[in-house]
Symmetry: C2
Subunit: 221 residues, 2 copies
DNA sequence: TGTTGTGAAGGCGTTCACAGCC
DNA sequence: GGCTGTGAACGCCTTCACAACA
């Protein structure tokens, strides 16, 4: 597989969501034009994005919704369950833990950690909050593949180092700080303050509408 | 002011955070090289980003930390308070409401709305959750400039339309759906599921580290 | 006829390299 | 001498335009 840009992958997620809706509505085919309209991009972009992975459409007809849906799920690696751990049982961690969309897409949070002994031992929907001391052991024992980091900025790099040492190769970070990971690990960060500051900038300078893509953004490693 | 790319603005936020740290540590000057190292970018990029807004450095010396800090705050429109409303008092709304970083950067949540009558009337840290019916009236009466949308995807466009109609020009969206706003309104979206799917893609295809930016990502309008 | 798939062109952000100052 | 500021080169992503074909 060639090199696919990050923005292309982000748009695939987007197309996937739209296809899910179309599929529920019983639509059987969709054109790149329609997909683009619903996704806020262009028809050429849609076709180019998809063409990186194969030729899924029929000329003159468009794309078969259920087929394209399945293809995209496969491309994105969503045809399976992912075992996820959450580090940080504070406000944000709690919100993420309850976020239904994650589970719906196959991301299952199977362990929760916190450094605060008042949080450790609490039951969260059938899961007991574990002490962060046990991090490496549990990550390995549970076969965790993705870790969500929702700890204070000062603690984030330390957690990430331990997570990486335990062999985890995918990290989603919510701490507002730059993190270093080795090249074999994929790190994505969500930084809400940066977005708000972007709004502040736009409002202060009479700018036009939003930035690039939808959704949160990735991190430079 | 010329056209400044979205990624430049995002990096300014980043530099600002780093400068805050340097300033607290009592550092008086910093080079583009050092700023780049801490921010995970390049020295040329730092200088280019800053050069869009003026010439803040001294050749041979670098940048004066307190000065550059103040300049960036001014550029980003952070030398003031922003009045913010939160729509959606669920898990995510609650986490955002308690997020200290927002207030620290001058974003003050002064109103909270929800459609669920069981939530309406609750007291949140001295603020009573208001019925979403009162949205337009309160936004105008309170002089709200930025609205954070944390409602289910199906409800988001409706909320956004009303918010726009009430004259608000900055929206931060957490609902995982594409939203349309008129060009004079700036919309940024945070989509955590897209990030997780990006991880899934990377892990499934043996990719290297993260995507572009840190922090959440903006939305194409 | 209608819509895809794709090489070519275009636009934009990043990197380079060096002149300009402190 | 050291580091910034910046025009030019570069590379990548997006857009164009059209041949291919159901």
């Amino acid at each position: 597989m060639k090199k696919v840009s990050d923005s292309t992958v982000t748009r695939l997620s987007l197309y996937l969501r739209i296809l899910n809706e179309l599929n529920e509505q019983g639509l059987s085919t969709v054109s790149s034009e329609e997909l683009a309209r619903r996704g806020g991009t262009t028809a050429a972009q849609v076709r180019k994005d998809l063409s990186f992975f194969g030729t899924f459409g029929k000329r003159g007809l468009g794309y078969a919704v259920p087929d394209l849906l399945e293809r995209l799920r496969a491309i994105l690696g969503l045809g399976r369950h992912w075992r996820v751990a959450l580090v940080g049982a504070g406000k944000i961690g709690s919100a993420l833990f309850g976020y239904q969309d994650f589970r719906r897409q196959g991301f299952h949070i199977v362990a929760v950690f916190d450094a605060d002994e008042r949080k450790v031992g609490q039951w969260w929907n059938g899961l007991q909050v574990l002490p962060v001391e046990d991090l490496e052991d549990v990550l390995r024992a549970e076969g965790i593949e993705i870790v969500i980091v929702a700890v204070p900025a000062e603690a984030a790099q330390g957690v990430v180092d331990r997570v990486v040492a335990a062999g985890v190769r995918g990290i989603l970070n919510f701490a507002p700080t730059k993190l270093d990971v080795p090249p074999e690990v994929t790190l994505k960060s969500v930084n809400m303050t940066v977005e708000l500051e972007g709004l502040s900038y736009a409002l202060s300078n009479g700018e036009r509408s939003g930035g690039k893509r939808r959704g949160t953004r990735a991190d430079r490693s």
